[in-house]
Structure formats: structure tokens, C-alpha cells
Symmetry: C2
Subunit: 161 residues, 2 copies
DNA sequence: TATTGTTATACTCTATAACTATA
DNA sequence: TATAGTTATAGAGTATAACAATA
């Protein structure tokens, strides 16, 4: 066993009668951490940005008409103050814009600027490459199976809420 | 579609010819974030502790003879300074202890104290419950399949290093 | 009164790099 | 020279709560 494998192999800490679930969780966590670390590093090195910023822009790219701060907060699963902070940064860099909404002066609509759209397109292309690479070890059929199984897991988390 | 489902359903942002991989990644990330959030919240509310602290103690529980700071750093996939900080906290609370190693005065052996072992046993019991609950939506066969597929993903990440 | 969004604050976690002590 | 560990620092990310403006 390589030192790297030894390093990453935290799964054996599962030790109870429910060892199967614990091993699965540790493996799931390890996979997402390994991929996420690479994505974060890539975003930082190549684009001088962070995953939350990328995620916010990705939401806006899907909604050209714009999203309210509250929508962003829900979708990104973080509290409002954080969305304000990230949005402020992106506005300062000219990547997104806040525009008022008629009929409710409390609300803003946040959208990508043209610069933001171009910038996001660049990042998304690289991001796609990193992700495709991460799953190259699986056959198309395995990709599909994994997607289906994780769908059941995700569905169940929502039922637990 | 419920608001919650809508909120969590970030997957549709995948839009390229490699949509399958992107959808899979977003689903994997969502699953691990949902479970991790619950574990973090549980550790904070019930035990006033954090996931990195729990993970460090879990490593020590697996190694009653103790681990060197460097080993912990490798296993937890974080840099040395951070291990020092977390270890300092746990030592201050009497949960772990540093003891010298004869033959190399640079090295420390970090171990759980008796209090640390009892404390970890409490946490591990609850932790197991949260994890078992998270995967209740899967049959034993599906648990096994998912574990196998994630094993391939994990294996491939190591090859990419 | 309730809601949208902002501000202020504090804390955890992390990486980096300079440093000490020992090998 | 190299290694084990610490210290110092800075920044990301987060939650909480108080607040202002509007509904």
C-alpha cells in the first residue's frame, strides 16, 4: 500500500455493527473532499477566485433574468449576510450587478454583467475539464449507476428535513 | 416540486456535452454537504465540538499507541500548523496528551487520555446514529454498490495525484 | 408586525512561511 | 542539510444578531 493510499485510507476507522454505513460515509466524504480540493485550487490558481464565488455566478448563469438575494441565499445554502459579502465583491469587480425591482423596493435583482458572463464561461470550461477528469475512472454505465444511487441518498436527506 | 427540492436542486446548471459528469459531481457534492452539515451541527449542539476535532480524535481512537503530529497531518490531509492548533485545544481540555518519544527528541506521540476515550465513545455513538439515518433510504445491496463505485472514484483520484 | 437585505462581529478552519530544536 | 513541530499571519467561510427600510 502506497503512503498516499495509507494517508487517504481513513475508512478503516469505522468499527461498529453499522460499519457498512460508516465506511460508505467516510468514502463519500473522502471523494468529495479530494475533488473539491482540486477544484478550489484550480479556481484560485487559474482564475484567482473561490468556489462560493463560482457557485454564485453559476446560479446567475442559469437565471439570466436575475435572482433575488434571498433566492441566492436559499440556493447556495448559506445565510444572507454571506451572500451580501460575496455579491459585493463581484459587483466591485464588475462581474455582477444589482438592479432594483419595481413593486418592492426592498428587493434587488442580481445578474451577471456581460463581463461576468464571459468570465464565467472561461471558468466553466476549465471546471468541466477538472470534473470530467475526476470521473474518468468510471464507465458510462457506472456514471449512470452512481448518479442514480446518489439521487436516492439526496432524496432521503430531503425527507429527513 | 417542493421549495426545498427546488433549493437543493442545483444540478440543472450542468449544461455541456459532459453534462453527465457535471450532474454527477453536483449531486455528489450536494449529498456530502447535506450530511456534513447535519454532522457538524450535531457535534456543535450536542458536544460543543467540531468535525476536525472529531476526526483527529477518531484517528487517535484507531491508534491507541498514539500518532506523531506528522502522521496526523497526513491522515487528516491538512498542514502541520493546523494539527498543532487543534491538538493544543484538545490537550487544554484534557482529551489528548503529548508524550515524548525516546530516540528522537523532535517527535511527540499524541494519544487519547482516558477522558478523551470516554468522550469520543459518546460522540461516536451519536455520530453513528446520524450516519445510519442518512443512508436509511438505501437497501443493503445499494449501500454495497455505492461503496464499490465510490471506491473506483477514490482510487482514480489517487492515480491523478 | 413581518420581510428583505445589510452591517457588525466572532469563530473555525486553512495555507504559507519563518522559526526553533534536533537529527 | 534535512526533518519535526511550532508560531505568526492572513484569508476564506460561516453563523448570529442587531439594524434599517419597506411591505
Amino acid at each position: 500500500m502506497s503512503e498516499l493510499q495509507e494517508t487517504l485510507d481513513m475508512e478503516a476507522r469505522a468499527h461498529s455493527e453499522h460499519a457498512q454505513e460508516l465506511r460508505l460515509w467516510l468514502r463519500l466524504l473522502t471523494c468529495s473532499q479530494l475533488i473539491e480540493k482540486r477544484v478550489r485550487a484550480g479556481l484560485r490558481e487559474h482564475f484567482d477566485t473561490t468556489l462560493p464565488r463560482f457557485d454564485l455566478m453559476a446560479q446567475l448563469e442559469r437565471h439570466p433574468e436575475g435572482l433575488k438575494m434571498k433566492d441566492l441565499s436559499h440556493r447556495l445554502m448559506v445565510t444572507g449576510g454571506n451572500v451580501t459579502g460575496i455579491t459585493d465583491q463581484l459587483v466591485a469587480e464588475g462581474l455582477v450587478e444589482r438592479t432594483g425591482v419595481e413593486g418592492d423596493r426592498r428587493v434587488f435583482r442580481v445578474r451577471l454583467t456581460e463581463l461576468g458572463r464571459r468570465s464565467f464561461a472561461d471558468m466553466a470550461e476549465q471546471h468541466e475539464h477538472w470534473i470530467v477528469e475526476a470521473f474518468e475512472g468510471l464507465t458510462p454505465r457506472e456514471l449512470e449507476q452512481l448518479h442514480r444511487l446518489l439521487g436516492k441518498v439526496k432524496q432521503y436527506q430531503k425527507e429527513l428535513e
